[in-house]
Amino acid sequence: MARSVMSEIKKDHIHRLLARGKRVDGRNWDEFREITIQTNFTETAEGSARVKLGNTDVLVGVKMETGIPFPDTPDKGVLATNAELIPLASPTFEPGPPDENAIELARVVDRGIRESEMIDLDALCIVPNEEVWICFVDIYVLDYDGNLFDASFLGAVAALKSTIVPASRYGKGEDFKLPIRCLPMSVTAVQIENSILVDPTLDEEKVAAARLTVTTDENGDIRAMQKGLKGSLTIDQIKKIIETSQRLGKELRKLVG
């Protein structure tokens, strides 16, 4: 990804406001931007969701195919998550195979879905050792204004929840809803000069020292985490973000229903 430049005056502006406990767009430190979720956006997908998180815009789709299971999980379906930072979404995204940022994004989303056991992979086995359902989750960023982790995760959860497995198309009986066990939610925050800000915008991400994504389940238990960027976090900051993720996760979950 090409380095993105940011004017010193803009950086100063963020820092000065933060010193007075304020954010550029007037939000509280633990406040998400406005979120809209449009499910079934793409008819050719088995499930899809377009999520707008402020100016960040992400489209997630699910395709189901049959295939061979992994040897170590012969009686489980397969989850495959992929993210594309397409150049349409930002002047800093370049065409080509997924770079390290796209791969990190896909893996963090995948981890939250996989480790929360959101999808009942046992129910996606057709013939053990031979044939299982493969669930492809594809994430496309359309407009990039920060916090791709939460926008993509919300999109993936909403898309999976709306997925109908096209069994009849594959001669495997009647179509059925993708079996969902729970709704995990991810919340991402950044640390800027020891202040914690939830749902960072692109400008906030650019001045941030460290980032933490915490994915929790309905019980508030932690299912996945990812610390990013070059700075550090204190244990107290981490605990604060976990507590915030539990609390805000409940609110986000209501949006998916």
Partner: protein, 254 residues
């Protein structure tokens, strides 16, 4: 050989259209924040988004032209835009489509105004149902206008084809798969020049003449929709009063 009848005895097609009728088309300009210009097109069951970046510094530098801007295009179908999941990344088809769209757009853009720069056009097919290159080019030219890139004209595009031995406008996927010919075209409405033309299948010269006649008429309609979209995007709701102009409500902090 024809296993499937695509036009019934009343001359109506599977989706109820007449042979010279377009699918419903909706165009919206300025749909993305980060891009310099953008447009979204829904065309029947096609969903297409286009974004423009530039004129901006040209990378890689050896492609820079000291006399004009370089027009680059990337046409891409997203993985779940078709029934059978498409593996991400360019294939030979999308590389070819990207090339002919870039060439079509280069002709209408005043590239000599922006030497050494690059104008990058990105077209993403979010949902495909035949005619995506035409929908993509139609969207791309609106996105260029939205980006303020000076152009000779907008570029409407449409596909004409042959189905059940009849010349038919704007094929759907079923008609394309079982039809006899497909002829995508794009024109400059003000001059009538042809900017994009491809054909595959089998047509007599008479059928071809009929097809381009249908295509030109349809492009005129699409051209109106393109202009309407830009007018809606840039329409001024009401002129602000002097008082409001002197005391803007949203003052920047500090």
């Amino acid at each position: 050989m024809e296993a499937m009848r695509l036009i019934d005895e009343n001359g109506l097609r599977i989706d109820g259209r007449k042979v010279d009728e377009l699918r419903p088309i909706r165009i919206e300009a300025g749909v993305l924040k980060r891009a310099d210009g953008s447009a979204y097109v829904e065309w029947g069951k096609n969903k297409v988004i286009a974004a423009v970046y530039g004129p901006r510094e040209c990378h890689p530098r050896h492609l820079q032209d000291p006399s004009k801007a370089l027009v680059q295009c990337r046409y891409n179908m997203i993985a779940f835009s078709v029934m059978e999941r498409k593996r991400p990344g360019p294939d030979r088809r999308s590389v070819e489509i990207s090339k002919i769209i870039a060439e079509a757009l280069e002709y209408v853009i005043f590239t000599e105004y922006f030497p050494r720069t690059s104008i990058d056009v990105y077209i993403e097919i979010l949902q495909a149902n035949a005619g995506t290159r035409c929908a993509g080019l139609t969207a791309a030219s609106v996105a260029l206008a939205d980006a303020g890139v000076p152009m000779k004209d907008l570029v409407p595009a449409v596909a004409v084809g042959k189905v059940d031995n009849q010349v038919v406008l704007d094929l759907t996927k079923e008609e394309d798969n079982h039809g006899q010919a497909d002829l995508p075209m794009a024109i400059i409405p003000r001059t009538g020049e042809v900017l994009l033309m491809q054909m595959d299948g089998h047509m007599t010269v008479e059928e071809f003449n009929k097809a381009i006649d249908l295509g030109y008429k349809a492009c005129e309609k699409i051209y109106q929709l393109q202009k309407d979209a830009l007018r809606r995007r840039y329409a001024v709701e009401e002129i602000e009063t002097f008082e409001e102009a002197q005391h803007p409500q949203t003052a920047m902090e500090e």
